[in-house]
């Protein structure tokens, strides 16, 4: 009865990826910021383009800023000087908050089912399905997608997530102005580097330096006109900017032996009750976490037609695990323990990688200022 995983570790998974696309960072290009619109225009022939934007002119604000999401590019020039990171993580583009899985209807011959139009692929108005290009993704969020891949390729292939993911291109943007809630450098991720994107852009004033990270990114660059070759001076300026960005990530956690420390604290009810005390179990940290993937499956039916859909779910809710006779995680502290241990203990046990990217969303967007770094510091 041994447990067999299709993917035995994150390193193995990424090793395969690296092998397939030997890193070629020396070949860098330059694009003027005001020309980004025309570059996106070229790419939009082959891709549906998503860019960071503020959702409408809504009065809804989160901690003083408007709700930032990845929205469909409307074809206009874009300026990302204001942009730090989105509120909704990019997982929403691959595992939508709500998605129709299939439709069914009851006829004279019994039940029949049909898939919705081309699930897994975003379609333009012309009806031609195109893969996604996500512009401006941060290194932490790109890593999060690689972590989600482990779950959705493991054992059974997810027929909705994977087609979206495999076609997609990620254009990363070096994170020069991280939030004070960010702690990515403690988790082996840096604001200035990424193996998980296809192209990586660095803001060097009036221009972006573009580095080719993967084969997919290289092919995309070959098809793109209007770019200059970067000089050594440009590369030096980019490196300087990246160095500074590392210094701006000041929050740290101690990840050494965290798996074992959490394992020995697993039965320490006092510790978990203490760290869970102020949590109000609203679930926002899990909805906005770029590596949380739990979902619920439900049916809706009107007359003789209906659909089965899936939507995000959260381990913060007691109903999540409720069974008729009992509930293994009835208490709030048990659910907080599940959330922390899933990322820092169970994921490392299974895939040998921590399922946290240090993006800091769960800290800066928590309504009661619950802080994962504080929780883990208590274990030191």
């Amino acid at each position: 009865m041994s447990i067999e995983y299709r993917v035995s570790s994150f390193e193995e998974y990424r090793g395969g990826r690296r092998e397939a696309s030997k890193l070629k960072t020396q070949n860098s290009k330059l694009v003027r910021k005001k020309d980004i619109g025309s570059v996106l225009h070229q790419w939009s022939k082959d891709y549906t383009i998503f860019v960071p934007c503020n959702e409408g002119d809504t009065a809804f604000t989160v901690h003083g800023s408007r709700l930032t999401v990845y929205g469909l590019w409307d074809g206009s020039d874009i300026n990302l000087d204001w942009y730090r990171n989105t509120v909704t993580p990019p997982k929403a583009n691959f595992l939508p908050p709500l998605e129709e899985m299939f439709r069914f209807q009851k006829g004279k011959e019994g039940h029949s089912m049909e898939l919705p139009f081309e699930p897994g692929v975003w379609s333009l108005e012309s009806g031609v399905p195109l893969p996604q290009l996500i512009f401006g993704i941060r290194p932490c969020d790109a890593r999060a997608l690689s972590l989600l891949d482990l779950i959705f390729t493991d054992a059974y292939q997810d027929p909705y997530y994977l087609p979206r993911r495999e076609g997609a291109v990620l254009v990363g943007l070096v994170c020069l102005n991280p939030y004070d809630s960010c702690f990515c450098t403690s988790l082996g991720i840096g604001p200035g580097e990424s193996d998980d994107v296809d192209l990586l852009l660095t803001d060097i004033g009036d221009e972006f330096l573009i580095e080719e990270i993967s084969d997919k990114g290289k092919r995309l660059m070959e098809l793109t006109a209007g770019l200059k070759d970067a000089t050594e001076d440009d590369t030096a300026r980019a490196n300087e900017a990246k160095e500074k960005a590392y210094g701006r990530v000041t929050r740290k956690i101690n990840t050494e032996g965290i798996k074992d420390r959490l394992l020995s604290a697993f039965e320490d009810e006092h510790y978990w009750e203490k760290v869970a005390a102020k949590c109000i179990a609203c679930g926002i940290c899990t909805f906005l976490c770029p590596t949380c993937y739990c979902f619920d499956i439900s049916d809706e039916m009107v007359k003789k037609q209906g659909a089965r859909f899936r939507c995000w779910d959260s381990c913060a809710f007691a109903l999540y695990t409720k069974m008729p006779m009992e509930n293994p995680r009835e208490e709030k502290w048990q659910r907080v323990r599940q959330k922390v241990c899933h990322k820092f203990e169970f994921y490392p046990m299974t895939f040998d990688v921590i399922a946290c990217t240090g993006c800091g969303r769960c800290i800066r967007l928590c309504p009661v200022n619950w802080d994962i770094t504080q929780t883990l510091r208590l274990l030191d």
Binding site: H111, V121, P129, Q157, P159, P163, C294, D296, S298
Partner: protein
């Protein structure tokens, strides 16, 4: 990857879409207790009837279209293939909807999922089955599987309990196993009917063959004889297990029941000399996807749906006290 590659990829995945259920037809319904029913069902597509294979202990996701999906084990044996069976208690939205269905109704089914019982490990061993309530359903699949290959296994002991005589499931199986001279069946109830009269069991009175014998022998006696001189004991399953005291020598215990019974059964088995590797259980958790994606059925880093539902006690004992 170009757009046409993606369409191709999508077609491939749509054909083997793990979330698309097969349409099944209910062929027969058996009332086990007032709240438990067994459904005999079969694939609507006759080709799939022959292609479908499963192992004892595996489960499926059953759906009533428009209401939802829920996981239940396949309670029939893979050695008896003219139809499939599953049994369920009426407790929630989906199970209530299933109980309202009649013969000929269509349900959705996807599976089989999970690992099933390790038959190669059980061969040549003495088997002790410990079941409680509807927990007999997955054991029943294995018991019939074992009995259909009787010469491959050693002694077989079945200890099964329910809350009251009316709550005993699969009475026809208990009778059949009792008639089998190579099997030792011990049946127990938490309380005899005459002491605690629940409204449910009163309705059921007279339906149960075992219970109808009870008044003849008399209440108050903790060991009651049924007509065919089989014992119907009184006491919780772990207690009775301790009294019966099966030998751990070359034996494997297979335990399934409500979590509270499982929790109290393991220490008794340990006292009898069973090692954690000699105890096998099949667990139940809330599930949605059944394939290790939706996240809720974990015990530690183990997903009950994908890594289980069959586990040895050795695999789960680190987590079982607090999370199960």
């Amino acid at each position: 990857m170009t757009a046409s590659d993606i369409i191709e990829k999508h077609r491939f995945l749509a054909q083997s879409n793990v979330y698309l259920p097969h349409i099944m037809v209910i062929e027969k319904i058996i009332d086990e207790t007032p709240s438990v029913r067994t459904f005999h069902f079969n694939f609507k597509d006759e080709k799939l009837r022959d292609e479908f294979t499963f192992e004892s202990g595996q489960f499926g996701e059953y759906s009533v279209f428009g209401v939802g999906e829920a996981p239940f084990c396949i309670s029939s044996s893979p050695t008896r293939r003219d139809h499939l069976e599953f049994a369920l208690q009426r407790v929630g939205k989906v199970t209530n909807a299933l109980h309202r269905l009649g013969v000929g109704a269509e349900i959705g089914f996807r599976g089989p999922y999970g690992n099933g019982f390790p038959l190669d490990l059980l061969q040549g061993k003495n088997l002790v089955f410990v079941g409680g309530g509807i927990g007999l359903a997955p054991l029943r699949s294995l018991i019939w599987n074992v009995l259909d290959n009787r010469d491959k296994y050693g002694d077989i002991q079945i200890i099964y309990g329910a809350r009251s005589p009316a709550d005993l499931c699969f009475k026809y199986d208990l009778d059949a196993w009792g008639d089998d001279k190579t099997v030792d069946v011990i049946t127990t109830v938490d309380r005899q009917e005459s002491r605690v009269q629940s409204p449910v069991s009163r309705v059921e009175a007279g339906n149960s063959r075992l219970q109808s014998q009870e008044s003849r022998v008399g209440a108050g006696d903790s060991r009651l004889q049924t007509a065919d001189s089989r014992l119907l004991r009184e006491g919780f399953v772990p207690q009775i297990l301790g009294q019966v005291a099966p030998s751990a020598q070359n034996a494997i215990a297979i335990v399934c029941g409500p979590p509270i019974m499982i929790r109290f059964t393991f220490p008794v088995l340990e006292k009898l000399g069973f090692t954690p590797e000699q105890m096998i259980t099949t667990l139940e958790k809330r599930m949605k996807c059944g394939i290790g994606k939706c996240g809720r059925c974990n015990i530690g880093n183990i997903y009950v749906c994908r890594d289980g539902p069959v586990f040895s006690y050795a695999q789960i004992k680190g987590f079982i006290s607090s999370e199960y």
